[in-house]
C-alpha cells in the first residue's frame, strides 16, 4: 500500500471532523470522571490543527513536517493533560516520517508504535490505570505482532483497532489511578474513560481513512 502526504492530511482533516462530532460526548464522559472539558479540549486542539491544514500545511509534502506541525499546534493550543500526550505521540511519529512524502505499510506501523510508546513514556501510565493507555497499548501490541506475521498493514491495523475498542471498553470496569479521576475509587467504576475514548476515535479514523484512500 501507499499512503501519501495528501492522505495523511485527509486523515488529520477526518479527525478534526470526528472530534467536532464527539465534542459533547467526550465532555459528558469527562463530567462523570473529571472536569468535563475533554471534548472541549480536543475540539480546541483539532480546530487549531485544522487552521494549519488550511494554511501553512496546504502545500506541505513532508509527512514528518506535517506531524511536527500537528503535534506542536495541538500542544500550544491546549496544554491540559492530553496536550503533551498527543503532541508527544505526533512528535515521536514525526521522526519516522522525516523527509518522506510517501509512506509504506512499515512506515505507518512504525509511526503508530512510536506514537503510542511516546504517549506511554510521557504520561507514565500503565494498562489498567484507566487512561488512554488502555486503548493504545493493546492496539500497539496487536499491531506489532500481526504486522510481524503478515506484513500487511491494513489487516494488522484493522485488528489493532478492534483491540483498541476492547481496551477502551475495559476502562468501564477499571478503578481510576491516574489523572483527575484517581481519587474517585469505587465511584469511577462503570464510566468509560474520556481519553481512552478519544484515543480510540483517532485510531478508528485512521482505519477508515486508509480504507477509503485504498479503495480509490
Amino acid at each position: 500500500m501507499k499512503f501519501s502526504a495528501v492522505d495523511l492530511k485527509i486523515f488529520l482533516k477526518n479527525v478534526v471532523e470526528v472530534m467536532e462530532d464527539n465534542k459533547e460526548y467526550l465532555s459528558e464522559l469527562d463530567r462523570k470522571l473529571g472536569d468535563g472539558d475533554h471534548g472541549v479540549t480536543m475540539s480546541i486542539g483539532w480546530q487549531a490543527i485544522d487552521e494549519k491544514l488550511n494554511e501553512e500545511l496546504v502545500a506541505e509534502e513532508d509527512c514528518g513536517k506535517i506531524c511536527i506541525t500537528t503535534g506542536r499546534t495541538f500542544l500550544s493550543a491546549v496544554g491540559s493533560s492530553v496536550g503533551p500526550l498527543y503532541a508527544t505521540g505526533f512528535l515521536r511519529g514525526a521522526k519516522v516520517f522525516q523527509n518522506k512524502t510517501e509512506l509504506t505499510g512499515e512506515d505507518l506501523k512504525d509511526f503508530w508504535v512510536a506514537f503510542i510508546e511516546g504517549i506511554k513514556e510521557r504520561g507514565g501510565a500503565e494498562v489498567g490505570d484507566k487512561t488512554m493507555i488502555d486503548t493504545l497499548y493493546p492496539a500497539l501490541e496487536s499491531l506489532k505482532s500481526n504486522f510481524e506475521k503478515e506484513q500487511d498493514f491494513v489487516n494488522a491495523f484493522t485488528e489493532s483497532v478492534a483491540a483498541a475498542h476492547k481496551g477502551m471498553e475495559s476502562t468501564k470496569d477499571l478503578l481510576s489511578k491516574r489523572g483527575r479521576s484517581s481519587r474517585l475509587g469505587e465511584r469511577s467504576l462503570g464510566n468509560q474513560d474520556p481519553g481512552a475514548t478519544s484515543a480510540y476515535l483517532i485510531l478508528e479514523t485512521f482505519l477508515t481513512t486508509i480504507n477509503s484512500v485504498q479503495t480509490v
Binding site: E24, S27, E28, R31, L33, G34, D35, G36, D37, G39, V40, T41, I44, L75, S76, A77, V78, G79, S80, S81, V82, G83, P84, L85, R122, G123, R178, G179, R180, S181, S182, R183, L184, R187
Partner: protein, 334 residues
C-alpha cells in the same frame, strides 16, 4: 448557564485583555503568547523568579497573584486546563534575572507534564535553573500514605505567598524551593461543594447534587469528592472540614497557624464569615493560635458554590513570610 461573555471560545483571551488593561502599572502581557503575563515593575537583578500558573477559571488564582511579594509571572491555560509549555517558557525567559526560576503549581497530570516539559526546555534553551514545587494540599484527594498524589487547591495561595516573600527577601533558588516545599508540607485544605459550575463552552453543570445535598472533598474543577450527603448547618460542615485537616496534620496547643476560608465562586462573604466563626472556635478551643486570617474568594472554580478551609502551620520563618507585604492586582497586603 447565564454568563456575561461574548463568545465561549474567547473568554480566556478576553479576560486577559481586560486584566492587563485594568492594571497596566502592575502587569503586562508578553508578545509571543497571549497567555504570558509578568509583573510590569522592574524586578531586582539576581532575584529568584517566581512563576505560577495553571488552568484558568480559578480567578483570582493564578493571574491575580502577580506582583510585589508574590509571583513575577504567570502562564494562563484554558479553563481548567494546564497551559502548554510555550507561555511557561516565555514567562520563564522574561523573569529569569540570573538566579533561576521556581515553578509553583498544583499537582495535576496536565500541569506536571506541561510545566515539566517547559522546565526541561528552559534548561536546554536558555540554561535557566528551574526549581519545582508541586502543591498537594487537598486532603480529600488521596490518603495520607499517598500524600505525593494529592492535588493542589486553595493552599497554593500560601505556598505562593511564602515563595514570593522569600524571593523578595533575597533567598537563593534552593532556599525559595525549600521554604515553598515546607509551606506545602505544612498546609492542608478540605473543601465542600454545594452547587456546580459550568464551562462556558459546554454550558453543562460540572456535577449534580440534589437541592439538599452537599459534597465533601469535591475537586477544584468539579471532580467528584469523597462523600455526598445532606446539607448540614455551617457549624457542622466546619467541624467536619477542620477535623479532617487535623486528623491528617495534628497541630498542638500553642502552635500558630494561618487560616484561609475560601469561597469557590458564588458563595457569599456572609457565609464565609459564618464558616470562619466556627473554624476559629474549634481552633481556639484546642489552644491553636490563628496568627493571620484570610476570608474571601482566593481560588475559585468559576461560579461553583461552596467553600474550602485551609490551615497552614507557621514556624517563625513561615510567619515572617506570611506577614510580608504584597501588592498584586487581586490581592494586596500591607
Amino acid at each position: 448557564m447565564k454568563k456575561l461573555i461574548n463568545n465561549p471560545t474567547h473568554v480566556v483571551d478576553e479576560m486577559i485583555e481586560g486584566y492587563v488593561k485594568a492594571f497596566p502599572k502592575h502587569v503586562k502581557l508578553l508578545p509571543e503568547n497571549k497567555r504570558s503575563i509578568v509583573t510590569a515593575k522592574e524586578t531586582r537583578p539576581e532575584k529568584v523568579g517566581v512563576l505560577i500558573g495553571g488552568g484558568s477559571g480559578h480567578e483570582p488564582a493564578f493571574m491575580g497573584y502577580v506582583g510585589d511579594g508574590m509571583a513575577d509571572g504567570v502562564a494562563v491555560g484554558n479553563i481548567f486546563a494546564s497551559p502548554p509549555p510555550d507561555p511557561i517558557l516565555e514567562v520563564t525567559k522574561e523573569i529569569d534575572k540570573g538566579a533561576g526560576v521556581v515553578y509553583i503549581y498544583g499537582n495535576y497530570a496536565g500541569d506536571v507534564m506541561n510545566f515539566g516539559m517547559a522546565a526541561e526546555l528552559a534548561d536546554l534553551e536558555y540554561g535557566t535553573n528551574i526549581g519545582t514545587v508541586l502543591v498537594t494540599d487537598d486532603v480529600a484527594s488521596a490518603p495520607k500514605e499517598e500524600k505525593e498524589k494529592r492535588r493542589g487547591i486553595a493552599g497554593e495561595f500560601f505556598v505562593t505567598k511564602a515563595a514570593g516573600a522569600a524571593a523578595d527577601k533575597g533567598y537563593s533558588l534552593d532556599d525559595v524551593v525549600s521554604v515553598a516545599k515546607k509551606a506545602n508540607e505544612y498546609t492542608r485544605t478540605m473543601g465542600v461543594g454545594l452547587t456546580p459550575c459550568s464551562l462556558p463552552q459546554t454550558g453543562k453543570p460540572s456535577f449534580e447534587l440534589e437541592a439538599n445535598e452537599m459534597e465533601i472533598g469535591l475537586g477544584h474543577h468539579g471532580e467528584p469528592g469523597i462523600e455526598k450527603g445532606e446539607l448540614q448547618p455551617a457549624d457542622r460542615v466546619a467541624d467536619r472540614l477542620v477535623q479532617e485537616i487535623l486528623n491528617d496534620m495534628p497541630i498542638g496547643s500553642g502552635e500558630k497557624v494561618a487560616v484561609l476560608v475560601n469561597g469557590l465562586g458564588s458563595t457569599t462573604q456572609m457565609e464565609l464569615y459564618i464558616m470562619f466563626r466556627r473554624v476559629e472556635q474549634i481552633l481556639s478551643e484546642k489552644g491553636i493560635e490563628i496568627h493571620r486570617s484570610y476570608v474571601g474568594s482566593y481560588s475559585t472554580s468559576l461560579e461553583m458554590g461552596g467553600c474550602s478551609v485551609t490551615i497552614t502551620k507557621l514556624d517563625d520563618e513561615l510567619m515572617e513570610l506570611v506577614d510580608y507585604p504584597a501588592d498584586c492586582p487581586m490581592y494586596v497586603q500591607r
